[in-house]
C-alpha cells in the first residue's frame, strides 16, 4: 500500500528575464530557503532532494545539480536530477512523490531552477535567438535539428494539425482574449516576470508573427528563477502542518504519458496531445475523480502557447475537443467562470524558467486552494517535441 503524500512548504524566487545579480547556485538556495521557511522546518529535516533542471547548456555545465546539493544543505543525502524537456518540473515532482509514496523517505525537497538567458547570440547582439537555439539542441539530432527544429515550430505543428481537424476553433480573437486575461491575472503575482505587462486583445492580434500561427504575445517568455516544494508522507506531513499552521495540500493523483516523437500511422497523432489526455486521466483515476468537469476547480496549466492551453483543456476533458473556444465564449475560464485557469498568469506572463516552471505552478495551485478555500486543482507540465511529454497532478485541500 503506497503512502499518501502532501505538500507542506513552498517557495519561489522572482522570475526575471535576466538575473545578472544571481547565479543559479543562489537562485536554487533562495527558493530552498523560502520553502523550508514556509514549512517551518530545518533543512536537516529533509531526507532527499529532487532537482529539476532542463538544459545543461543553459547552466553551462553537465551535471548542473552537483554543486546544489551542498549549497542547499543536502550533503550526504539522496539527490537525483530529473530532466524531461518542458515537463521537467512536473516529472521532478512525480519522482519525489514516488519515492515518498514507496516509503523510501519521509520528506523531500523538490527544487527546480533555470538560468536561460546567459545564452547570447553575438551575431544579432540579443539573447533570444541563442536561448531558442539552445533549446533547439533538444530536437531529434538526426532528422530534425539540421532543418531548423524549434520548440515553437514543433508545438505549432500540433496546433495547426488540430486546426485542420477543427477549423472553427482556436479563433484569433479567442486566443488574443485569453492572453489578455492572463495578463490581468498576473497582476496579483509579485514574483512574475511580467506582473505589470497588461495587454489588450487588440495588442495581441497586432503583435508580430513569430512562428505561424503564434503571435509574440501568445508565447511564454523565457525566465530565470527557481521554485521549491517540501513534500512529506502522510504522518510527517500532518506533523509539519500542525507545527506550521498551514494545511497540507495532498497530491491525490499523478499521471504521466510520453508519446511517439515521429508522426503517422501507429505513431504520433499530430492533431491531438494524447500525452495530455492519458496523463490527466491517469491522475483522475488515481485520485478517484470520475467527472473532472465537476471536480476540478483550479487549473495550473503549462501554457507554452495560448493555442496549446486551449487544446490541453480539451484533452483534460474540461471542454469538448473542437469547442475549446467555449473557455471564453461560454465564460468557463473568464472571471467568475467554472474554472480558475492559471491565476499566477501562467508561463506566458509569470515566465518560463523551465525546470522551475511546473513547480511554480504547483506553488500557485497550493496557494490558491488554501486562499480560495477550494478543494481540487489540476497541475500540468508539457514538454519535448510535438508536446510529446505530459505529467499531471490532482491536488486536494481538505
Amino acid at each position: 500500500m503506497s503512502k499518501r503524500v502532501g505538500i507542506v512548504g513552498a517557495g519561489v524566487t522572482p522570475f526575471k528575464g535576466t538575473w545578472r545579480e544571481k547565479t543559479y547556485y543562489e537562485l536554487a538556495q533562495m527558493a530552498t530557503r523560502e520553502a523550508v521557511k514556509d514549512a517551518r522546518i530545518d533543512i536537516k529535516d529533509v531526507d532527499a532532494a529532487f532537482y529539476g533542471i532542463y538544459n545543461d547548456i543553459f547552466e553551462r555545465t553537465a551535471i548542473p545539480e552537483h554543486p546544489l546539493h551542498g549549497i542547499c544543505g543536502m550533503q550526504n543525502k539522496f539527490g537525483i536530477r530529473i530532466t524531461c524537456g518542458g515537463a521537467t518540473g512536473a516529472y521532478t515532482m512525480s519522482a519525489a512523490h514516488a519515492y515518498l509514496a514507496a516509503g523510501r523517505y519521509k520528506t523531500a525537497l523538490v527544487l527546480g531552477v533555470e538560468k536561460a538567458t546567459d545564452c547570447f547570440d553575438f551575431s544579432s547582439m540579443s539573447a533570444t535567438p541563442e536561448v531558442i537555439k539552445s533549446i533547439g539542441w533538444s530536437g531529434d539530432s538526426f532528422f530534425e535539428q539540421p532543418i531548423g527544429w524549434s520548440a515553437s515550430d514543433s508545438y505549432a505543428e500540433v496546433v495547426l494539425a488540430y486546426m485542420d481537424e477543427h477549423p472553427g476553433d482556436l479563433k484569433p480573437e479567442i486566443t488574443a482574449g485569453i492572453s489578455a486575461q492572463l495578463s490581468q491575472q498576473v497582476k496579483g503575482n509579485k514574483f512574475a516576470q511580467r506582473q505589470f505587462d497588461q495587454v489588450t486583445p487588440e495588442e495581441v492580434i497586432n503583435s508580430r508573427l513569430v512562428v505561424y500561427p503564434f503571435k509574440e504575445l501568445e508565447i511564454c517568455v523565457y525566465s530565470e528563477g527557481a521554485a521549491a516544494l517540501i513534500l512529506a508522507e502522510e504522518e510527517t506531513a500532518k506533523e509539519i502542518s500542525r507545527n506550521a499552521g498551514t494545511p497540507v495540500v495532498w497530491i491525490t493523483g499523478v499521471g504521466e504519458s510520453n508519446e511517439h516523437s515521429f508522426a503517422g500511422k501507429n505513431q504520433k497523432i499530430m492533431s491531438r496531445i494524447m500525452s495530455d489526455y492519458y496523463a490527466s486521466h491517469r491522475a483522475y483515476e488515481m485520485a478517484g475523480v470520475t467527472d473532472p468537469q465537476k471536480a476540478i476547480e483550479i487549473v495550473e496549466l503549462h501554457d507554452a502557447f495560448v493555442h496549446q492551453l486551449e487544446i490541453s483543456m480539451a484533452e483534460f476533458g474540461l471542454v469538448p475537443l473542437g469547442r475549446a473556444d467555449s473557455l471564453i465564449e461560454d465564460g468557463l475560464m473568464t472571471p467568475g467562470g467554472k474554472y480558475v485557469v492559471n491565476p499566477c498568469g501562467g508561463l506566458i506572463y509569470c515566465g518560463h524558467a523551465v525546470g522551475a516552471s511546473n513547480i511554480m505552478s504547483a506553488w500557485s495551485a497550493r496557494k490558491e486552494l488554501i486562499e480560495r478555500k477550494q478543494k481540487t486543482a489540476l497541475v500540468h507540465g508539457t514538454g519535448s517535441t510535438v508536446a510529446q511529454y505530459t505529467c499531471c497532478f490532482v491536488f486536494e485541500h481538505a
Partner: protein, 331 residues
C-alpha cells in the same frame, strides 16, 4: 531560397574573449563572454544507407516491417516495435507526397537558422509510406506565407545541388509550382527549378498628394523615433546593432540609421545601405513603429518589401522597440 552554411560555426557567431561590468542597484556585476563547444565525428550507424542514398543516389528510403508491412519514412529503426521487434527491410519510396498537416512557418529563427528564415518545416507522407517525414518547405514564388501549404497539399522532394548526407540535403515545394516533367523526375535538383528572384517593386510616380502625405507621415515618424531614442528599454533592443536602411515610398525616401542603441531618421539617399525597404505609403512602416501593427506582418502580407530576408532580424528589433515604448508607457 536559403543555402547551406559552409562552416560548422560561422565566424560571425564567435565572440572575442572579454567581459564587461553591469551595474544594478549601485552594485557592479561581472559578465563574461563564454562558450561551450564540442566537435564531433558523428556516427550514422544503421542510418547510413538512408543518408548515403540522399547524398549519392538522390533516392528516398524507408523501412518496411516484414510482418505488419508498415512502411516508415525515414527508416529510423531496424526492427518493428509494433510486432515485437520483427526485422524491417529497406525499400525505396516515391519522391512525391502530401502534407500530413498544415506546416508552421518560422519567421523568427534560432541563431543557427536565421540565414534560412522564413522557412517552413512540416511532415510529408510520401507515396508508398505510412509515416510522415519532417522536411523543410519552400515556395518558388518568394517568401513563404500561410495558405500556400496546407494539410493534403501535394509536394515534391527536391535535392540540393551540394549534398552532405544530412536532412538539409532535401526540401519540398508544392507540385502545383512545378511542371509535370519536374514532378515526375526522380532526383530533381534545386538548380532545375526557376526560383523567383527578389525584384525591388516599382513605385509609381508620386502625385502632389503623395508628397504631402509623405511629409505628414515623416513628422510623426520622427516623433515616434525620437520617443524610441529616449526610451531605455527600446535603446537596449538595438544595443550593439548597426544598420543603415534605405526606405523607399511613393511620396519620397528616407534613411533609418541604427547605431548601437541609437536610432535616427534622415531624409536622404544612402550610397550603400545595408538593405532596402519598399512600401507604397510610409504609413505601413509608421504604423509598425508606432505599435499599431507589426512590421513583420506587413512583410508577410506583402505590404512591405525588404531586399534581404536575413534582415528579418532587424525588422524584429524594430517591432521590439515599438513594443518596448508601448510597454514603458504602461508602467
Amino acid at each position: 531560397m536559403a543555402t547551406q552554411r559552409e562552416k560548422l560555426i560561422p565566424s560571425r557567431y564567435i565572440p572575442d574573449i572579454g567581459s564587461h561590468i553591469e551595474t544594478i542597484g549601485g552594485k557592479d556585476y561581472l559578465v563574461s563572454n563564454d562558450a561551450m563547444y564540442t566537435f564531433y565525428r558523428r556516427t550514422r550507424g544503421e542510418l547510413s544507407p538512408f543518408f548515403l542514398a540522399l547524398r549519392d543516389e538522390k533516392k528516398l528510403l524507408g523501412c518496411k516491417c516484414t510482418k505488419c508491412g508498415l512502411v516508415r519514412v525515414p527508416p529510423f529503426l531496424t526492427h518493428c516495435p509494433d510486432c515485437n521487434f520483427t526485422p524491417t527491410d529497406l525499400i525505396e519510396v516515391d519522391q512525391v507526397g502530401i502534407m500530413n498537416s498544415t506546416p508552421p512557418i518560422t519567421y523568427f529563427a534560432t541563431s543557427l537558422f536565421q540565414h534560412m528564415a522564413p522557412y517552413g518545416r512540416g511532415r510529408v507522407i510520401f507515396k508508398g509510406a505510412d509515416t510522415a517525414m519532417s522536411v523543410n518547405l519552400y515556395t518558388t514564388t518568394g517568401i513563404l506565407v500561410p495558405g500556400i501549404l496546407k494539410k493534403g497539399t501535394e509536394v515534391k522532394l527536391v535535392f540540393r545541388d551540394k549534398r552532405i548526407g544530412e536532412m538539409s540535403d532535401v526540401f519540398c515545394v508544392p507540385t502545383a509550382e512545378l511542371s509535370s516533367k519536374q514532378v515526375n523526375k526522380k532526383g530533381l535538383q534545386e538548380s532545375e527549378i526557376d526560383w523567383e528572384a527578389p525584384v525591388e517593386p516599382h513605385l509609381p510616380k508620386a502625385s502632389e498628394q503623395d508628397v504631402k502625405a509623405f511629409k505628414e507621415a515623416m513628422k510623426e515618424m520622427k516623433s515616434v523615433v525620437s520617443h524610441m531614442n529616449n526610451n531605455k528599454r527600446a535603446r537596449k533592443d538595438i544595443a550593439g546593432w548597426k544598420r543603415n536602411i534605405q526606405v523607399k515610398t511613393r511620396g519620397g525616401q528616407f534613411a533609418i540609421l541604427i547605431n548601437d542603441g541609437d536610432i535616427r531618421i534622415q531624409e536622404k539617399v544612402l550610397s550603400s545601405p545595408d538593405f532596402v525597404m519598399v512600401c507604397d505609403g510610409p504609413n505601413t512602416l509608421l504604423d509598425g513603429l508606432a505599435y499599431r501593427g507589426a512590421i513583420t506582418d506587413s512583410i508577410i502580407n506583402k505590404k512591405l518589401w525588404i531586399s534581404k530576408n536575413m534582415e528579418f532580424n532587424t525588422i524584429f528589433k524594430l517591432d521590439r522597440m515599438a513594443r518596448s515604448v508601448a510597454r514603458s508607457q504602461k508602467v
